[in-house]
Symmetry: C2
Subunit: 186 residues, 2 copies
């Protein structure tokens, strides 16, 4: 008897892990800290997640889903013809709001094919817009050009790689305008 008496839940554990990732980064996430945050001892977490990596996978999956949602809603809100720019801005603002969480999306272990799928899905809204406006053969390279630029820009921005001062927002607008125009001329 006295059957369950769960002190926490899978979602609560993931939420606590996510909060730690947002504040201190994935490298600094310890099972001890997660356990303490949800009021449990470390061994209990292993009843819910096979190991630390799988728990981080769940946090990453949540971040990917959220990014996909933000991109989709930016697309929905944008005036016709301005979808790409609106989505690019939404992408950057997602990464800037939670840079350490964003970084987790790109530090996924080699193993998990499922998570690689989820990451690809997170930029699906970008693909759809490109598919609607470009020749079939250009869609994949164009998507790679755009996602590479977006990831590179926010990764460099959030890791402090843009050292030389200047207006980073202006550099983003400068780049985005040329990038979108060069796709339009395909």
């Amino acid at each position: 008897m006295c059957p369950a008496l769960a002190k926490t839940s899978d979602q609560e554990v993931v939420a606590a892990a996510r909060a730690i990732v947002e504040q201190t980064g994935a490298a600094a996430l310890s099972m001890q800290a997660v356990a303490q945050a949800v009021g449990v001892r470390p061994p209990s977490l292993y009843k819910r997640f096979a190991d630390r990596d799988r728990l981080l996978d769940e946090v990453a999956r949540g971040a990917m889903d959220e990014l996909a949602t933000k991109l989709q809603s930016a697309r929905d809100r944008a005036p016709a013809g301005a979808e790409l720019v609106a989505m690019a801005r939404a992408y950057r603002s997602f990464a800037k709001r939670a840079p350490r969480l964003y970084a987790l999306i790109f530090s996924v272990r080699d193993g998990s094919a499922e998570l690689h799928d989820a990451r690809a899905q997170s930029v699906a809204p970008l693909f759809e817009v490109l598919r609607a406006t470009l020749a079939e053969a250009d869609v994949l390279p164009a998507a790679r050009m755009l996602t590479a630029f977006l990831h590179g820009f926010v990764a460099m921005e959030t890791s402090g790689a843009f050292q030389l001062g200047g207006d980073v927002q202006k550099a983003f607008d400068f780049s985005l305008e040329r990038l979108v125009r060069s796709l339009g001329d395909s």
Copy 2:
């Protein structure tokens, strides 16, 4: 007496650390493994480097210097007018040859201003070419556009983010051609 009798050297330690980073990534580098590789006990390493992070800093600095050299030599070798494309290809080939070492360049701790400088210096050859061909006000945004694309592309490529098959080389050429052309039209 019997004064020195050094079993290893700073350079040998850095070289051993670099080999480990290249093979298994910075996260998997332990002081124990480095010590063993150079035939010494872990505590001895602390006579040479303050801690694990500083040792990784030295490895990162070496990688940055090497990247700068590769970019400069690509520039020197390139026919007039094709410098940017040649340097972009050299950048990608550096990252693909040692993806885990490349990743280290962008995982530098917030602390070290000196290393942030070295990272900026590693793409100095790109800056110089842009300065020779663009209006003053466009140099910084253009450099950010180009480095953001390059870093994003190779980071996604080496982390397995380009899931959907297709020809990645073709996507790189596609992007690079449009990117360089869009800078030329400034």
